[in-house]
């Protein structure tokens, strides 16, 4: 009887273990004091983006840690528009705070010389960059197929660091910074982002 009882105990522990080890959520949201719901500006890998859109708080939600693609709360990729430049694209998925619809996106598109790689991306660290609104811009895409709006703005990368391939085969990406833009009739102010994740495929 005793071994059988022990087995039951292990079965009871299994869901707990799955909860501890299986969850991929690594987002931490620390609201700024008197910040209207904005998160603090951090560079510790809290995996969050917040901003004000016409004064209303907007944030990413429960980003899927380490997962890239349309389902994640944050994505970074290279885009080939043609011509003598390529684009670095950072996309955040989220929505207005206290709004059940959390599938809007804000995108930062930054033109870099064609063929850019990790070295050029890492060189963005510490740089404040004006976005002209045409080749480099910020866009906001509302849900339900509403047309996206884009415009000029400014981004500051306090941190931008993509590691070489680590011994476990992964790459680590860290980025943190500030963002603001004029998107047609919409003003994006007080944007701040802080991300850190590992990925098995090279980001660029």
């Amino acid at each position: 009887m005793k071994p059988a009882k022990r087995k039951h105990i292990y079965l009871l522990l299994l869901p707990v273990l799955l909860l501890v080890t299986g969850c991929g959520k690594q987002s931490y949201y620390y609201p700024e004091e008197d910040g209207g719901g904005l998160s603090i500006f951090s560079n510790k890998g809290f995996n969050v983006f917040t901003c004000l859109l016409d004064g209303r708080g907007w944030k990413t939600v429960d980003r899927d840690y380490g997962r890239r693609g349309s389902g994640s709360e944050f994505d970074i990729k290279k885009q080939f528009p043609g011509g003598d430049y390529e684009q670095l694209v950072l996309t955040w998925t989220g929505g207005y705070m206290n709004d059940p619809n959390q599938y809007e996106s804000i995108r930062l598109v930054l033109s870099l010389p064609a063929g850019f790689g990790m070295m050029e991306v890492n060189a963005l660290s510490g740089k404040r960059i004006a976005l002209d609104g045409v080749n480099s811009y910020i866009s906001y895409e509302a849900p339900s197929g509403a047309p996206s709006v884009q415009g000029p703005g400014t981004v500051f990368f306090q941190t931008m660091a993509v590691s070489q391939q680590l011994s476990d085969g992964n790459y680590t990406l860290k980025t943190a910074g500030l963002l603001e833009a004029s998107l047609d009739s919409l003003q994006l102010t007080s944007g701040r982002f802080d991300h850190k994740y590992s990925t098995g495929t090279p980001p660029f």
Binding site: I40, F41, S42, G126, A130, T154, V155, F156, L178, R192
Partner: protein, 211 residues
């Protein structure tokens, strides 16, 4: 295993001379922190003495001098420097109430003793954070905020004691752990403080009874 000790604690007052002391203590406290290092320590100590063992009730309040450091702030405004440094002031209040035991381990003379002390206390620490005013548009990176932590802490130390007819003068060196409690999860750059105290105190004999 613990029964003899429990019996001793229960019946010891019946077999020996019991004395009750009360008195203040004050001294210097060194804080193991990169920012706040020095504090004035004050306290009040009550002791129930059973010859070689005493039981203590102690209140302590520390008055740290605070410490200054700085954080970084950044702006998107292209007409301003991207980065500035903003001064930050930390001021921690420490208060504890604890139970302790004092054991007489050696005589250094007819009226001089060497004691060891151990404490279990409830400790409260509140670190107040304030920033200097910064120009509009600058955003602090990893800002701290005022935090409170409270919980149990332990302490231990050694003590020299000189006996007078109606009291004792003591000088002690003791260490206190930080409170075992968590901040509210906010990522502050500081942490609960460990302290080392050098105190001098005098305890007045309030009652002396042969049990």
């Amino acid at each position: 295993m613990c029964r003899p000790l429990l019996l001793f604690l229960l019946f010891a007052p019946c077999f020996c001379t019991a004395q009750f002391y009360l008195g203040p203590l004050a001294g210097y406290q060194h804080l193991f922190s990169p920012i706040e290092k020095h504090a004035l320590n004050t306290g009040l100590q009550a002791a129930y003495s059973l010859e070689k063992v005493e039981f203590l009730l102690e209140l302590q309040k520390s008055w740290p001098g605070g410490g200054k450091t700085n954080d970084s702030a950044f702006t998107l405004n292209s007409s301003e420097p991207t980065y500035i440094s903003v001064d930050k002031q930390l001021n921690t209040d420490i208060f504890s109430v604890g139970l302790g035991v004092r054991v007489w381990i050696a005589s250094l003379g007819p009226k001089d003793r060497l004691n060891l002390r151990g404490h279990l206390a409830a400790q409260f620490q509140r670190t107040k954070v304030s920033y200097d005013k910064r120009p509009d548009g600058y955003v602090l990176l990893n800002p701290d905020k005022t935090m409170t932590v409270s919980g149990p802490s332990i302490g231990a130390g050694a003590e020299y004691m000189h006996l007078f007819n109606n009291g004792r003068l003591f000088a002690e060196l003791s260490f206190y752990s930080p409170p075992w409690g968590k901040y509210d999860g906010y990522p502050v750059s500081f942490y609960p403080l460990t302290s080392m105290s050098v105190n001098i105190g005098y305890s007045f004999l309030l009652s002396n009874s042969k049990q």
